[in-house]
Amino acid sequence: MKTIIPRNTIDKMATVMLWASAASAMLLLSYIIGYILLNGMWVVNLSFLLESPRLSGAEGGIFPAIVGTLALVAVAIITAVPVGIGAAIYLTSYAPDNALTRTINFGVECLAGIPSVVIGLFGYAFLVIYLGFGFSILAGGLSLMFMILPWTVRTSEEAIKTVPMELSEGSLALGATKWQTIRRVVIPSAIPGITTGVILGIGKAIGETAVIMYTAGSSLLLPHSIFDPVRTLPYHLYILASEGISGKMAYGTAVVLLGMVFAINLLAVAIQRRYESKEVK
């Protein structure tokens, strides 16, 4: 005999299930982050952060990897930001609606979709070998730039699009040229959005591994110039864990890496908040 369950009961059951699925997703996330933090926070102290590794990372600290990470991200951001914002300004304010513009948009979409390991291969063949940069901060940083450029273009475009038309029209009506309008009116209004995008881009770049493995090298020495090889935190973590060098050091490195990424995300949220609260006033 088939029993018919009242539909209100089904509705209640479904609601419970939906609560449960969202709650378990959040529990899983807290478990992952909690597990890393609980195992790794005992390792992190000042000497861990500021000392060089000994015995290929089994002892000592991770200072060169922190320096390496920051150096690569700096090269990537310094090159990606002007180009990305420039491209965004062109696409939002100058680009005519023609085949070339559509091709540019398609190119940005394509670049965003290319798997990071393929960008790494390209960085190796083009920057390391063909241009002769060798395994270096420069080659690794530029490869990272290829990776975050589409993100920078898209987030800057979004930020510029939110600037009300009336503002730029007002400026043009006062006799300002197009570039004066963009520089003095559009960009200043879009800057919070652009900054948030750039900061989130830094967060993405810090954690990236496959792109820099065969472009930045894996040296544990402190670099002296942008032509020196470096090892980044994620690569260091990978080597510590996969070669079984030291579980303890791997947890510590993971905590530092997570800490950097989360701090950057918090900063982005804070900027967004501040901007939004200003807008309401």
Partner: protein, 295 residues
């Protein structure tokens, strides 16, 4: 310099900045083909993609370059990840838009942001120290497996699936929702028979995009799947180790000598690039056609 010339110079330099994205994409294609095509021509595209035997450093006999087990490995793990993440992801998206009170919404949105921010190598590390031993003790085998790769990739895909599905669900007009409720349908009936069907194409786009991302993912998969370049035995055994195309590139670039071996890795990159590009194109087409049709 008069104002008009300087305006013109600025416009041209902005145009060049915009052009750079295409230039980079073309350079990537050029270098992939330059480095990878010779080996494809030498051994034949069919034998490369469908060849069962990957043995680049042959001690006895000729080396062979067949990446079929890795193509299967990549697709296998990506599909496994989707099977695990879609029910969770869509349910969480429905919850987020239709049911969650304000506080739960902000908790979930913050959680998604955190999850997106976790570097893949950290997730791979968690997989290595938590998931692999768990699978080894629960199901036997070595623990490094298709299952482990799929679970880690599912966790990575989850935030993207939730975000895009939630957008699709939020785009269902309120009037549709209200009409269903006014006819006496319960909230669940409305979700199941009205909202999910209207949001379907957006959700499908999310799934295909997730598939492309999963196939292109490297570090997390590399650390938990064991990386043996052979098909699982039997083929449905999800506890067997497997190697993906991305792992193949990363592992062997370490010691591949310039020549056929290194070129074969670039050729793997070409196949990977094409697969991901096709999936992305399909997904973008669905998203775009949906945008047009809702207008």
């Amino acid at each position: 310099m008069n104002q008009r010339t300087s305006e013109r110079i600025i416009e041209v330099s902005l145009f060049l900045a915009a052009l750079l994205a295409i230039v980079i994409v073309l350079l990537i294609l050029l270098f992939l083909i330059k480095e990878g095509a010779p080996v494809l021509i030498k051994f034949g595209l069919r034998d490369f993609v469908l060849g069962m035997n990957w043995n680049p450093i042959a001690i006895v006999g000729e080396p062979s370059y067949g990446i079929f087990p890795m193509v299967v490995g990549s697709i296998y793990i990506a599909i496994g990840a989707l099977i695990l993440s879609i029910p969770f992801g869509v349910a969480s998206a429905v919850f987020l838009i239709e049911i969650a009170p304000g506080w739960a919404q902000s908790v979930i949105r913050r959680g998604i942001e955190l999850l997106v921010g976790i570097p893949s190598v950290v997730l791979g590390f968690v997989g290595l120290v938590l998931l692999v031993p768990l699978i080894r003790h629960t199901f036997g085998g070595c623990g490094f497996s298709i299952l482990a790769g799929s679970i880690i990739l599912a966790i990575m895909a989850l935030p993207h699936i939730i975000t895009i599905s939630a957008d699709a669900i939020a785009n269902v007009p309120t009037s549709t929702r209200e009409a269903s409720l006014a006819l006496g349908a319960t909230r669940w009936q409305t979700i199941r028979h009205v909202i999910l069907p209207s949001a379907r194409s957006g959700i499908v786009a999310a799934v295909i995009l997730g598939m492309g991302n999963s196939i292109g993912e490297t570090m997390a998969v590399l650390m938990v799947t064991g990386n043996t370049p052979i098909l699982p035995e039997p083929i449905y055994n999800v506890l067997d180790p497997v190697r993906t195309m991305t792992s193949n590139i990363v592992i062997e670039m370490n010691y591949a000598a310039p020549g056929d071996h290194q070129q074969a890795l670039f050729a793997t990159g070409i196949v990977l690039f094409l697969m991901v590009a096709i999936l992305n194109a399909i997904s973008h087409t669905i998203i775009r056609s949906k945008r047009v049709s809702t207008r």
